[in-house]
C-alpha cells in the first residue's frame, strides 16, 4: 500500500517537469526540425540545399563563427591575467573590482548593445573610431559580456592551486615564465577550456547585442532566424538555420560538459589554503592589462550609457527619464510609420516585472522538482538509469538559444491543441524554459553535497519521504533557493531572444521597448532608450546583488 503510494508520488513529481519540458521545449524543437526537414510528411532536404546554396547563408555562418572565435580568444587572453590579479593577488579594493567585473555579465544583452552604441555613435566618446555597426564593435561587446566568465571560472581554480608545485619548479631551475608555462598553465587548462567552451556558446548564440550593434550588413545565425521569421516570413529558412544552430549548440555543450567534468576532477585535488599574496613588481604587466580592461572595456560603455541618458538637448538633466512616462517621440516626417510606442516605458517596465514574477515561479517549481528527483537514489537499476537520462535532458535547454525557443513557440503554440498565441502565459513560459537550467545548476550542486546517509538517518528515525525533504534537503538548500530565485528573476527581466518573437505589441517588456526605441529616428527616442537601459540595468543589478547575498560559502556547498 505504502510503497504503491510512494511510487505514485514520485511519478507525479517527475511528470510535472517532464510534461513541461515536453510541451514547451521538445515539441517546439521537434516542430522546427520537422519544418526544416519534412515536406508534406516526407523527408526532403531541398530546404537545406536551397539555404546552403545561398551566399548569404555562408556569409552569416562565417560571421557567426568568426565573431565566436574572436570573442572567445580575446576573452581568454584578457581574462587569464584578470583571474591572476583578482584571485591570486591581494590588494585593497579587490572585492570592489571583482564585483565590478561581474556587472557586465548580469546586464541584459540589449543594454550591452545600447551601451556600446552610445559610445560609438555620433556624439559618443569613441565616435572618431567610426566603428558603429562593425565586426570589431560586436567582438568588443562580446568580450565585455564574457570577460567575467573567464575571470571567475579560471580564478576560482587558480585561487586553490597549491603554489608549492610552482615553487618546486622554480627551485629546480625554471624561470618564472617557464614555471608558469610548464606547471601552472597545464594545471589551469581544464578551467580555461571549460570557460572557453562556455564563452564560445554565449558568443555563438548572442542575439540582443548583435541585433542592436550590427548594421544591416551584419548578421549571425541567431539574428538571421529572427529576420527570416519576422521580416521575410520565410519560416522554412528559419527552421533550417535553427537546425544548424541546434547542431552548433549541442557540440559546444558537449565540449563544455566534458571540460567541466575534467575541471571538477581537477578541483578535488586542490588545497583550501589561502594562496593570494600581495602584489609584486613582477605582477605589473598583468595588473596593467587588467586595469586597462576594467577601465576601457568594462567601465567606459557603462559610463557612456549613464552620461548619454542624462544628456538633454540643452545640457544635462533628467529629461530622458521624465520621457519614460510617455509613449516616445512621434516622427513628424512620416506620420503613418512614426507613431509612438503602444505603451509608455514605465508600463513596459511594469509588464517586465509582472512577467518575471510568473516566469520565476514556473522556473522554480520545475527546477526544484527536477533537482529533488535527480538526487534521489532509487534501488531499482532501471529507475536509476531513467534518472540519469532525466538529468541530462534538463541540461539541454541551457545551450539552446532563446531565439530557437521563441521561434519554436511561434510555430507550435499558435493553433490547437494548444493555442497560446494571445495568452498572457506564453512569454513567462518561454522565459521559464530559458531560466530552468540556471535554477537547476544553482541548486543541484547543493543537493548533491548532502550525504545520502543524512537522509537515511532521518528516514530511520521515522521521517517519510516528504519529511526527509523538509527536514534535510530544505534547510541545506535554504539560501541557495534565494540565489536561484534571483537568477531566474534577472534572466527573465533581461530576456530578449524569445520574448522578441512572442511579446504582444500592446504588452511589450522593457528590453523589447528599448529595442523598438533604438530603431526609431529622433534624438528623444535615443535618449529614452539610454534612460530605459539604465533603468533595466539598475533593476537586474539590484536583483542579482540581492540574490548574491544568499550565496552559500559554508557547508562545502560552493555554487
Amino acid at each position: 500500500m505504502d510503497r504503491h503510494r510512494r511510487r505514485v508520488g514520485v511519478a507525479l513529481a517527475g511528470l510535472v517537469p517532464l510534461g513541461f519540458l515536453g510541451v514547451f521545449f521538445a515539441w517546439p524543437v521537434a516542430s522546427i526540425l520537422a519544418r526544416g526537414l519534412l515536406v508534406d510528411g516526407a523527408l526532403d532536404l531541398g530546404g537545406f540545399a536551397e539555404v546552403f546554396d545561398s551566399d548569404r547563408t555562408w556569409r552569416i555562418i562565417g560571421q557567426t563563427l568568426a565573431q565566436s572565435v574572436a570573442g572567445t580568444t580575446l576573452a581568454v587572453l584578457l581574462g587569464v591575467p584578470g583571474a591572476y590579479v583578482l584571485y591570486r593577488c591581494r590588494f585593497p579594493g579587490r572585492a570592489v573590482v571583482r564585483a565590478l567585473v561581474t556587472v557586465p555579465f548580469v546586464l541584459p544583452t540589449v543594454v550591452v548593445g545600447v551601451a556600446f552604441r552610445s559610445l560609438l555613435v555620433d556624439g559618443g566618446a569613441l565616435a572618431f573610431l567610426d566603428a558603429d555597426g562593425t565586426f570589431a564593435a560586436i567582438v568588443a561587446a562580446l568580450v565585455f559580456f564574457n570577460y567575467a566568465v573567464v575571470v571567475r571560472t579560471v580564478g576560482a581554480m587558480w585561487a586553490h592551486l597549491d603554489p608549492r608545485a610552482e615553487q618546486a619548479a622554480r627551485a629546480l631551475g625554471a624561470s618564472p615564465a617557464r614555471a608558469f608555462r610548464e606547471v601552472t598553465l597545464p594545471a589551469l587548462t581544464p578551467a580555461i577550456a571549460s570557460a572557453a567552451s562556455l564563452v564560445f556558446l554565449f558568443c555563438a548564440t548572442a542575439f540582443g547585442t548583435v541585433l542592436v550593434l550590427g548594421g544591416p550588413a551584419y548578421g549571425t545565425v541567431e539574428t538571421e532566424i529572427w529576420i527570416q521569421t519576422t521580416q521575410f516570413l520565410d519560416l522554412r529558412t528559419a527552421a533550417v538555420l535553427s537546425t544548424v544552430q541546434l547542431a552548433v549548440v549541442t557540440l559546444s555543450l558537449t565540449v563544455s560538459a566534458w571540460s567541466r567534468r575534467r575541471r571538477e576532477t581537477a578541483l578535488r585535488v586542490q588545497s583550501d589554503a589561502e594562496t593570494a599574496r600581495p602584489l609584486r613588481r613582477a605582477d605589473l604587466p598583468a595588473v596593467l592589462v587588467t586595469a586597462a580592461v576594467v577601465l576601457a572595456l568594462l567601465m567606459a560603455p557603462l559610463a557612456s550609457l549613464l552620461a548619454g541618458s542624462l544628456r538633454t538637448p540643452d545640457g544635462w538633466g533628467l529629461h530622458n527619464f521624465a520621457n519614460l512616462a510617455t509613449n516616445g517621440q512621434r516622427s513628424t516626417a512620416e506620420p503613418g510609420l512614426g507613431v509612438g510606442l503602444e505603451v509608455s516605458v514605465w508600463q513596459a517596465a511594469l509588464n517586465s516585472l509582472r512577467i518575471a514574477v510568473d516566469a520565476t515561479l514556473i522556473a522554480m517549481v520545475v527546477g526544484v522538482l527536477v533537482c529533488v528527483l535527480v538526487t534521489r537514489r532509487p534501488h531499482q537499476p532501471g529507475a536509476r538509469r531513467a534518472l540519469s537520462v532525466f538529468d541530462a535532458v534538463f541540461m539541454l535547454p541551457l545551450g539552446v538559444s532563446a531565439v530557437t525557443v521563441g521561434f519554436g513557440f511561434l510555430i507550435t503554440l499558435d493553433r490547437p491543441p494548444l493555442d497560446l498565441r494571445s495568452s498572457v502565459v506564453l512569454v513567462p513560459i518561454a522565459q521559464a524554459v530559458v531560466a530552468v537550467p540556471l535554477v537547476i545548476r544553482t541548486l543541484l550542486p547543493v543537493l548533491r553535497s548532502i550525504d545520502e546517509r543524512l537522509r537515511e538517518a532521518a528516514a530511520v528515525l521515522g521521517a517519510g519521504p516528504a519529511r526527509v525533504f523538509t527536514a534535510v534537503d530544505l534547510p541545506v538548500l535554504g539560501r541557495s533557493l534565494g540565489l536561484a530565485v534571483g537568477f531566474a528573476f534577472a534572466v527573465s527581466l533581461g530576456e530578449f531572444g524569445a520574448t522578441s518573437f512572442l511579446a504582444r505589441p500592446d504588452r511589450p517588456t522593457l528590453p523589447v521597448v528599448i529595442f523598438r526605441l533604438i530603431g526609431r529616428p529622433g534624438a528623444d527616442n535615443l535618449g529614452m532608450a539610454l534612460a530605459a537601459s539604465v533603468v533595466l540595468a539598475a533593476m537586474t543589478t539590484l536583483v542579482i546583488g540581492l540574490a548574491e547575498r544568499f550565496r552559500v560559502h559554508s557547508a562545502g556547498a560552493e555554487v
Partner: protein, 339 residues
C-alpha cells in the same frame, strides 16, 4: 502496515536473506535470529557484506530473496521510516543545521511526542551518554567522540525496537574507541536495547556483543557466543579471521595438547599461544626473533609441527639456532573440528 502472518517469533529473524548488486552478491543467504535485549555483532573484513546486511534490515537496501521479520511479522512492505529501528552510522551523520537537542529530539518529533515529553527524554538521553547540559551546543563544535555520543542519543531517543550500529566507533582514535566501546556496552545493557552491531574490530565485537557472527564474501560463516566462537571456531577460515595464524594437528603436541581437544582435532595457534617457559613440555628451535610490545616475538621450529610463532617474556631471549622449552596457553588456543 502488513498483516501478521502467525506471530511465531520474537525479536529479529532473518531467513536466507540475499542482496545483489547487478552481478555481485553482497549478502548470500544469511539466516540469523536476535532475541529481545540481545546484542549481536557481525565481524568481517571490509566488503564482506556486513554493512549491506545491516542496511537491508533497516530497509535501506531491498532484499532479493529471503525474509526479514520482526516479532514474526514480515517487514517486506514496511518502509524505512515505519520500521521503528534505530541506525547509527560510522560518522554520526548529525543534522548540521540543528543543535544537539534538535538532533536528539528529531525521532521524537517524527513520532509526534509533545514538547514537554521531548524535553524530558532529551535530557534523559544526554545524561545517559554523558553530555548533560550540552543540548544547546552546535553539532559542528563537538569533537568526534561527542558527535558519536549525540548520534547514539538520537538513535536511542525514540526507543527503537532494534538498534543497528554500522561501525560506530571506527572513525575514532584507539583510546577513545576503547573507552566508548565500554560505555556503549553499558548503555545498551542498561536500556535493554536489542542491537545488531557491525564492525571489523575483534576487540569491539567481543566487548559489546553477547553473540558474534563472522561474515565473509556475503556468507555468515559462524555465529556463536563470543567465548565459544573464540575457543571453538567452526573452521580454519573463521579462525584465521579471528587471528589464528597456524594450524597444527592436536596429536602432534602429544600430551601437551589442551584439555577438551581430541587427538583428531586441529589446534589454531596465535603468536601468544606458545610461551617460552623453562619447565615447558614442548621443545623448539628458534628460527627468528623480533621485539614486540612488552616482550619478544619468536618464530620457532617444532618437530612434527612445523614453524610457528611464540612469545617470550622480557628481552633476554636466546637467538637463532638456540633450543627453547615452550608451554601451550590453552586460553588463547583454538580447538577446531577435524578438517
Amino acid at each position: 502496515m502488513t498483516g501478521h502472518d502467525g506471530a511465531t517469533g520474537s525479536g529479529l529473524e532473518l531467513r536466507e536473506v540475499a542482496v545483489t548488486f547487478g552481478a555481485t552478491t553482497a549478502v548470500d543467504d544469511v539466516s540469523l535470529c536476535i532475541e529481545p535485549a540481545e546484542v549481536v555483532a557481525l565481524l568481517g573484513p571490509s566488503g564482506c557484506g556486513k554493512s549491506t546486511l545491516l542496511r537491508a534490515v533497516a530497509g535501506l537496501e531491498p532484499t532479493d530473496r529471503g525474509t526479514v521479520r520482526w516479532a514474526g511479522a514480515d517487514l517486506r512492505d514496511v518502509p524505512v521510516h515505519r520500521r521503528g529501528f534505530g541506525l547509527l552510522f560510522q560518522d554520526g551523520q548529525l543534522f548540521p543545521h540543528r543543535d544537539v537537542a534538535g538532533n536528539v529530539e528529531f525521532g521524537l518529533r517524527m513520532a509526534g511526542v509533545n514538547r514537554a515529553g521531548r524535553q524530558a527524554r532529551v535530557g534523559e538521553l544526554l545524561e545517559l551518554v554523558g553530555l548533560s547540559g550540552r543540548g544547546g551546543r552546535r553539532v559542528a563544535s563537538l569533537s568526534g567522540g561527542e558527535q558519536q555520543r549525540v548520534a547514539l542519543a538520537r538513535s536511542l531517543a525514540p526507543r527503537p525496537r532494534l538498534l543497528l550500529l554500522d561501525e560506530p566507533l571506527s572513525a575514532l582514535d584507539r583510546g577513545l574507541r576503547e573507552r566508548l566501546a565500554t560505555d556503549l556496552r553499558e548503555i545498551l545493557r542498561r536500556t535493554s536495547t536489542t542491537a545488531l552491531y557491525v564492525t571489523h574490530d575483534h576487540d569491539e565485537a567481543f566487548t559489546i556483543a553477547d553473540r558474534v557472527g563472522v561474515m565473509d564474501h556475503g556468507r555468515l560463516l559462524q555465529i556463536a557466543p563470543a567465548e565459544l566462537l573464540w575457543r571453538r571456531p567452526a573452521d580454519e577460515q573463521v579462525a584465521q579471521f579471528l587471528g589464528y595464524d597456524w594450524f597444527v594437528p592436536a596429536s602432534a603436541l602429544g600430551a601437551a595438547r589442551p584439555r577438551g581437544a581430541g587427538p583428531d582435532d586441529v589446534l589454531g595457534l596465535r603468536p601468544e599461544s606458545l610461551v617460552v617457559d623453562a619447565d615447558g613440555p614442548i621443545i623448539g628451535l628458534v628460527v627468528d626473533r623480533h621485539r614486540t610490545r612488552g616482550g619478544t616475538g619468536l618464530l620457532v621450529h617444532i618437530d612434527g609441527v612445523g614453524t610457528v610463532g611464540a612469545r617470550a617474556p622480557g628481552t633476554a631471549v636466546p637467538g637463532p639456532a638456540a633450543r627453547v622449552r615452550l608451554r601451550l596457553e590453552a586460553a588463547v588456543t583454538a580447538v577446531l573440528p577435524p578438517a
